[in-house]
Subunit: 411 residues, 2 copies
């Protein structure tokens, strides 16, 4: 394997042309699209249009004429095929944290007639998911608790007769471990529990088929692999079979059956709209479409095939070329258990990552000692992988990192 | 009073120059800034910069280097002086509905040791406020209820020994009625109730002094009089004296004491940050600054003085020039009880408003039969008022409206 081989693979890559749909800075190898996706070129013109024309010229009319009010549903329908959802089952709205709260609240309510009072999740889940479950549980007054399991192997046994909801993030934000959604959903169902899946590191990264997997509810993020822009509104999936019983306490006017009748009692609309709450941030929401448009030009199967090649290549090159350095792979080697990022620990992981960033290889760091590298097949190539590893090797061989570098408050 | 008088008043108006800070379409008299504020000219360059540079070029680094992570607090500090809040007491985040939920939940929790289980509000309050209170109440399992009062006069008696929280919108969205915040807050406090004020139609419209009024919590909107852009994130005020006890169930990672430690248990940060929940929509959030910048060039006192002159003039001209038409003023004539919009009913209010919009006078319609006209002193002039009334008179005199016009699903 040589750099020329990588260049050759880029040249015959069917996704290679899609890189032109993105604006990427010169001299940067961006391996952090799992945290903030790169900017679709179209997003700039779209932002200009929303701000100058729709807001500036057409003003209040744009709620109708520019489709602002319908955007959460319209974007949800665009996103749906990427996660195996049907039209009318997804809205893009609010934040992942808040959508998770809605889904958990609805799931708990569906289980209220049983004695089930436990939400099961992993201690290694992304913290806000745990925090939102804790927040909900502490405000429900019938003794709800959040049970944290310490390993994947413990999940099946933890889903017992007390378990109301199994809440998991499909692909772990640190390790890149991918759960077997179908097997765990089937197990939960067999035990009488409902499932809530967080697709933050899955949507646009790995093929997801929520219906085939038998999942109950799902939420996720649009600003990572979907390239919707910084902090862009999140999504929530409620399958049609659960929609009539989908109730949650965040009952704002956008979820009302007739929001402009201004009636003094809440009556949820039918369908997925009842997952909406308040008025949405239009400019940020509009950017989401630019990211989704690019997915319409390929398939999750092609994306997945390239993702596995990129992550295989990265693992192979790091392990062969950086041999002798204290790097440890924490991401599964097994394809079926891997997401689209690769994590290695290093005793000076934070300092090494800072040195990489200085050299233009942008990944990120997560406690403890984890260097994360995201591989986004829409705009990352094989030669990028080669070059990133060459720079990593150079830094490690030369000890060209400052072990006194301190992690700041924000990463 | 002639049109020339109005033009002369515009010429000596100290706020007149600020109109140049806004991009307003030609041929439009925009009287709907109480629903969606006009676009500050600076917002286009800001949007371009956030999208092209901060997102596109600097990518993930911008969370630190462009101050994205701190934006809710920084914008909150900019907004604080407009509502009589101190620095460190306001964040710009999420939606008004969600912020109201947090404030209500925290207020109810503060009252939990008492027997108080009633949230008092007005039946005429903006519906989402009522819906969020109903949503919260229905999920609290100790018999909480929302009590709707039918008139302002009934509020004092409704704040009885069962009342935990008095939740009011300071300026009514339909009538423009402005509550006496200080008197009602004092009454609530004397009765042992807490107050939650919605400033959606107050912030940037009328002088508000939350501390002087003795209010307990407040929320509000940035996309109306503050000109933050369509659906821009809302704000929440928690005075320092309540911050340590401010707890709510929407406990996401942005409200954590150490969000990047990724600890598995929620621990709220000290200060106003605990009102935050999930990752915010950066592009929409960034626009809010452009609106707030303009307020730094004037004062709420000057804005209020002009607002009252504009609304006085509008009322006077409509009543004198459209005499004989079935128009009825529903906005208080008393200055202290008036916000910054004026509403008239007309039996064919919806049809007349559509005719006005066709002619370039953009107000809006609210059930039942109410035509709303918002007066935003930063970019509305006296001659605008004259011209708007002239067009209204022309439409009414000529019956130039189609009484078969049907209200659509969205306004």
């Amino acid at each position: 394997m040589t750099r020329e081989d990588c260049v050759a693979r880029d040249e015959r890559d069917p996704l290679g042309l899609l890189r032109n749909a993105f604006d990427l800075p010169e001299g940067v190898i961006y391996l952090d699209g799992n945290s903030l996706g790169a900017r679709p070129k179209a997003a700039l013109a779209r932002a200009t249009d929303v701000v100058a024309q729709e807001w500036g010229r057409d003003l209040i009319k744009s709620w109708n004429t520019a489709g602002w009010f319908d955007m959460p549903r319209r974007l949800g329908d665009m996103l749906a095929p990427l996660i195996g959802a049907a039209a009318g089952e997804v809205v893009v709205t609010d934040t992942t944290s808040l959508n998770l709260f809605k889904a958990l609240a609805a799931a708990v309510k569906l289980q209220a007639s049983s004695a089930r009072r436990v939400i099961v999740t992993e201690r290694s889940n992304f913290p806000t998911d745990i925090y939102m479950a804790q927040g909900l549980a502490s405000w429900l007054e019938r003794g709800y608790t959040v049970r944290l399991v310490d390993s994947v192997d413990e999940i099946p046994a933890a889903v017992d007769q007390d378990c109301a909801v199994l809440m998991l993030t499909h692909v772990n934000y640190r390790t890149g471990y991918q759960h077997d959604m179908a097997a765990l959903s089937a197990h939960a169902r067999a035990q009488g529990a409902l499932t809530v899946w967080d697709l933050a590191h899955s949507a646009g990264a790995v093929p997801v088929d929520l219906h085939a997997a038998g999942a109950d509810f799902a939420v996720g993020c649009t600003y990572k692999y979907l390239n919707g822009g910084p902090g862009a509104p999140a999504f929530i999936w409620v399958p049609q079979r659960h929609q009539a019983a989908f109730v949650h306490p965040l009952s704002g006017w956008w979820g009302h059956a007739a929001p402009f009748d201004m009636a003094p009692d809440f009556a949820p609309c039918s369908g997925i709209g009842r997952a909406l709450c308040g008025t949405q941030p239009v400019v940020s929401l509009a950017m989401v479409e630019c990211g989704l448009d690019i997915f319409a030009r390929t398939s999750m199967q092609d994306i997945r095939a390239k993702s596995l090649e990129l992550t295989d290549l990265f693992i192979e090159l790091v392990e062969s070329r950086c041999d002798g350095h204290p790097l440890e792979l924490v991401t599964p080697r097994e394809h079926a258990r891997r997401g689209s990022h690769v994590s290695f620990t290093h005793p000076h992981g934070y300092a090494v990552m800072q040195a990489l960033i200085e050299r233009g290889v942008i990944g990120d760091y997560r406690e403890p000692a984890i260097m994360r590298f995201g591989f986004t097949p829409l705009y990352t190539g094989y030669a990028d992988v080669w070059d990133a590893v060459a720079i990593l090797k150079d830094i490690l061989d030369g000890q060209a990192y400052d072990i006194n570098t301190r992690r700041g408050a924000v990463t």
